[in-house]
Amino acid sequence: MGCEVVRPLLHPHVDGELVPARDEEVRQHLVGCPGCARECEELRALQAALRTSLPRFEPPPALQPRVEAALRQEGAVLPGRRRPRWVAGATAAAAVAAAAVLGVGAWVVGNPWSATARENALAREVIAHHNGSLTTDRTAGVQSSDPEVVGKWLAGKLPFAPVVPRLDGAGFGLLGGRVESLGGRPAATLVYRRGQHIFHLMARHGPEGITPGEIRLQEQQGRRVAHWSLACLDFWAACDIHVPEEDLIYFIGLVRKAMPVHSTLRIGASAQ
């Protein structure tokens, strides 16, 4: 395909909206065309800037009671005071149930209002990396569905020995891994796919602002982000907001189960 055919396809390509065959054609073209490739990079830079530097408007606390009151006047029967937040109510219960079924032994905080500024900043970084996985063709890192291959590649590039969970039995196929910076520390970054959804897992040394056994969930910029810790590692996961919260909890449960705690404890060791 020539540039004149490809150029109108660059936006849907970057947005992941092309059918696979057509997308592959665009990819092929980009390999040999610096002009179009550069335009793609520009687009991705714009997207990253929009997602990370624009303000995130949140409804003022008074809006929910105000809307509830207006709805009641119209005859709506609403849950009343037993749930502090709609968001926390409906999904947190399901999440706790899912965690219990998995035997994760964790408790879930689904209230994004409780997150600190630091936690929010880290979550934004995780989302930026997640978006990068969705939209870049970047080959930095290793692309393999074999956890051993990815684990070997990561080992030695990090101040801890990473464990790469094998989750294909549960439908989470490994796409690859790389090292990213998160909060200024190097983080093992693993990318899984289940169906059409990408699950992004990051682990770095030193848990931060979270107690063991706790999973913090929040929603930002159309993504779900989870934060938890295990032994001396700080874990983050991200996925699209269209993934049901229970599925993300399920993923986290699988990851936690797959982590042999003793082997993640070796600080500064190489897994070789």
């Binding site: 687009l43 997602r51 207006a70 709805l71 609403l78 999904t91």
Partner: protein, 179 residues
């Protein structure tokens, strides 16, 4: 009992999406207080027409209601904003920022981008907000805005070119002429 089921369904499908409803209204009205008024009005409209909702995507359905409520509100209070044309003179499809580094965009930071986004005509702004900030697919945006998928694509393409150009201009970079 049936009516109680409906209430439960409304509670589960619609109520949890206050955040995204508010954000869309905030970007389209560009004002905190107006966004609150619109969201309240949208929830009332959603409640009244909820019996017509049979799908699974409560979020998309509510966003369509919020979007329509925004348009009605803008029509009533700031009619001129809905008639702002997309000025083709200001954007060229060949516009490219001259520095491909991400640092360039980081330097541009939020203020310039926010201004540029708020300056876009409403139909273009809503496409960008839904796609980039809320992660909606073309299909979802098409359903929310009641337009064909092809229109979503062309609006995004034009809007992004404008945003890139706005940032480039603000930073004093030399912008090559459009094609």
């Amino acid at each position: 009992l049936r009516e109680l089921d409906e209430h439960a369904r409304f509670e589960q499908a619609i109520l949890p999406h206050l955040g995204v409803a508010y954000r869309l209204a905030r970007w389209l009205t560009r004002n905190d207080h107006d966004a609150e008024d619109v969201v309240q009005e949208a929830y009332l409209r959603a409640y009244k027409s909820f019996s017509g909702f049979r799908g699974h995507d409560g979020r998309g359905w509510l966003l369509a209601v919020v979007r329509n409520t925004c348009y009605t509100w803008l029509q009533k209070h700031r009619g001129h904003e809905l008639t702002v044309p997309f000025d083709e003179q200001q954007h060229g499809t060949g516009t490219e920022a001259t520095n491909p580094e991400r640092l360039y965009w980081q330097a541009a930071a939020g203020e310039v981008l926010q201004q540029a986004l708020e300056d876009l005509p409403v139909p273009f702004r809503e496409a960008v907000v839904l796609r980039e900030l809320e992660g909606c697919s073309y299909k979802e945006i098409a359903a929310i805005a009641g337009i064909p998928v092809g229109t979503v694509m062309s609006r995004l393409t034009r809007a992004r070119a404008r945003l890139q150009q706005a940032v480039a201009q603000r930073l004093g970079e030399e912008v090559p002429d459009g094609l």
